[in-house]
């Protein structure tokens, strides 16, 4: 069995052209993650530039209204660029620079990772090219312009379903085309080893802070940690430092789209099967012949047909639970948290909020839920308006 395994999942299923490059990346990462200078630089960037630590906010009104567990939000939406994605890209782009690379490429779905990568590239003087499904460039036109403002080139991807998985395909193809000066800055805990490990490590700052913050505020660990899962980076980051705390429930919320019993879903754990794709063994939405299925969700950041290998293993071992949340539930939650707490969160994060709304009332007042608000929702306002039948265009 090769490197980077999480149970039976993970591995390095990539074309030979990329093998030396991902081996080099792993070596560089293993060196720099223990390098005091690298860590000092990254810490400064996270603190002074991204705005860390992010707040752990007690949602008192929601807690009262739902009448059960105490609800805390880990406010990744308050980070610079508006989501948790910045945690990972500052790490990876800094790593790329240390490796002597001059150019970064990345895929993006909703545009959050693309914007974050373009931001880090601007700051650290790297050339930047972003691959984004054409469908998503339409759904998230504002983010396309944002990336261009930051000096990145955005390539609309017109192959396949023209969404996130096709953007990953194109970014991988581009990487095989130009490896010497380029690092592929993967946006989630997916792909071939070492990416799932690197992205998880950079995102684990979320649970590192949250664990300490909840101990300071409540003097005890939470009953449950809830986060949305597409590829799974914010959830992996939110879960990671709680994995050894066996009494803390870890709950990942997948995008069920129009429902897991319909063809319009992106809930990989609920509907997927074991496969090998995008460099990793994991669960994927696919047909009986292994053709990757077109997936659907209102959220451009969650409509990915796979899930990171470490999540697949947490699912297999039962350490984490994964639940499907429909578009309708997510939109209701999006509106509810806006009205109740005055927070417009990303539609991705609203999937996690929707589950909190379901479970909090069933729990006791002694219970504590930490929900990761992975991003802010400005980007989604027009789409939600359209979903509600309001003819609003950006």
């Amino acid at each position: 069995m090769s490197k980077g395994r999480y149970g039976i999942h993970g591995g390095q299923y990539v074309p030979e052209t990329l093998m030396n490059e991902i081996i080099n990346l792993e070596k560089a990462y293993e060196f720099y993650k223990n390098d005091p200078e690298f860590n000092a630089e990254l810490d400064t960037l996270l603190r002074e530039y991204a705005g860390r630590p992010s707040l752990l906010y007690y949602a008192e009104k929601m807690t009262r209204d739902l009448g059960g567990a105490k609800i805390y939000f880990k406010r990744e939406d308050l980070n610079h660029t508006g989501s948790h994605k910045i945690n990972n890209v500052l790490g990876q782009v800094l790593l790329a620079k240390k490796m002597g690379k001059t150019r970064v490429i990345a895929e993006t779905g909703a545009g959050q990772h693309g914007v974050a990568t373009a931001t880090a590239a601007a700051l650290l003087d790297m050339e930047c090219e972003i691959f984004m499904g054409k469908e998503d460039t339409v759904r998230q036109a504002l983010n396309v312009y944002r990336m261009e403002l930051l000096g990145a080139t955005v390539h609309p991807v017109t192959t396949g379903t023209m969404t996130l998985k096709d953007a990953v395909n194109e970014a991988m193809r581009e990487w095989t085309n130009r490896v010497d000066d380029t690092l592929y800055v993967l946006g989630s805990v997916m792909g071939p080893h070492p990416f799932p490990m690197i992205v998880r490590d950079f995102q684990s700052v979320i649970s590192k802070e949250a664990r300490q913050q909840i101990l300071e505020k409540e003097g005890r660990l939470p009953t449950a940690v809830v986060a949305c899962v597409g590829g799974g980076s914010n959830s992996m980051g939110a879960f990671y430092n709680f994995i050894d705390d066996k009494n803390v429930r870890l709950i990942g919320c997948e995008a069920a789209g129009k429902g897991v019993d319909t063809a319009f879903t992106a809930a990989t754990m609920a509907t997927g099967t074991l496969g090998v794709f995008h460099g990793m063994k994991s669960y994927f939405c696919q047909n009986e012949y292994g053709q990757i299925a077109p997936v659907y969700s209102i959220s451009a950041g969650l409509d990915y047909p796979g899930v990171g290998p470490e999540h697949a293993n947490l699912h297999d071992t039962g350490r984490a639970e994964y639940v499907p949340i429909t578009d309708d539930e997510a939109v209701d939650a999006f509106e509810y948290i806006a009205r109740t707490e005055g927070i417009i969160c990303a539609i991705e994060s609203a999937h996690a909020v929707a589950h909190v709304m379901k479970i909090a009332p069933t729990m006791s007042k002694d219970d504590i839920i930490i929900c990761c608000l992975s991003g802010r929702g400005d980007k989604d306002v027009a789409a939600i308006a359209r979903y509600r039948g309001v003819d609003l265009h950006e």
Binding site: S2, K3, G11, Q12, Y13, V14, P15, E16, T17, L18, M19, N20, E21, T159, G160, K165, D166, N169, M172, R173, T176, N177, R178, V179, T273, L274, G275, V276, F277, H278, G279, F284, Q286, E288, Y289, G290, Q291, I292
Partner: protein
């Protein structure tokens, strides 16, 4: 020794690729028979995949046409079985690991033996991950072909020493597709391979003209051509077989006697 070695018995080998089921299974069957008649020494039949990450636009579109036309893994295995009744030319499948994995290694490779397929090329199965498939494949006498890329460097020896059937040398960085120029120092890669392996080494990715074929065949054991053939199929559809014959013949003629 596998049947694949026979492909290299009569001089430099011409290896022809076609996507199974593009635009339909019957056209694939006819095209392959024409390739054989035109002198192709080894046939690579692509089993279409929804997300072929090592392919350029030409083969991506062929996969899409085949899948849209309803071609399944079983259909492609079926046409290979039909062809086996008509020709003993060495044949291999080319596909992505998920297609084989999902079909089931046991089921897939036992069917390969039943049909008389000689090998399989899986571009997203590097040396480190090869064993899970090759252990089953070898039980059924099916070679898992190894690829060596311009970036392989010190990996060349490890991969070549472990290879079976033939060695697929990737000519250039990037994905499959016609290229006007190939810049990689292939001769030094081939020298490295020959230090550790007696297997034939054929070069693919980007080769389309008789001149390129002749040049590359002068220092390798064969040339692999895919996108240029798939382009002909895309252009002529059901009428492609005679055009494929003409093209393959021109390519084979260019490397004959080298």
């Amino acid at each position: 020794m596998s049947n694949i070695a026979r492909a290299f018995d009569h001089g430099k080998a011409f290896i022809a690729f076609i996507t199974g089921g593009d635009p339909d299974i019957e056209t694939t069957r006819k095209c392959i028979l024409e390739m054989v008649r035109a002198g192709a020494d080894l046939i690579e039949i692509g089993i279409p995949f929804s997300d072929p990450i090592a392919e350029g636009p030409v083969i991506q579109e062929a996969d899409l046409r085949a899948l849209t036309g309803g071609a399944t893994t079983d259909d492609v295995l079926g046409v290979a079985a039909d062809l086996r009744a008509e020709t003993d030319v060495p044949m291999v499948f080319m596909t992505y690991l998920n297609v084989v994995f999902k079909y089931g290694y046991e089921k897939f490779f036992s069917k390969c033996r039943e049909i008389g397929m000689d090998g399989v090329i899986i571009p997203d199965l590097p040396y480190e991950e090869k064993r899970e498939a090759s252990e089953v494949a070898s039980k059924y006498g099916v070679d898992v072909i190894s690829l060596i890329a311009p970036t392989s460097e010190e990996r060349i020896k490890t991969i070549a020493a472990d290879a079976e059937g033939f060695i697929y040398v990737v000519s250039s960085l990037g994905v499959t597709g016609v290229r006007s120029e190939i810049k990689t120092d292939l001769e030094s890669i081939l020298r490295e391979i020959r230090k550790v392996s007696d297997l034939p080494a054929a070069v693919g990715f980007g080769i389309s003209t008789p001149e390129q074929a002749a040049k590359i065949a002068s220092y390798s054991d064969g040339v692999i051509v895919g996108s240029a053939i798939v382009k002909i199929v895309a252009k002529y559809g059901k009428d492609a077989p005679s055009h494929v014959y003409d093209y393959v013949k021109s390519m084979k003629d260019a490397i004959r006697g080298l």
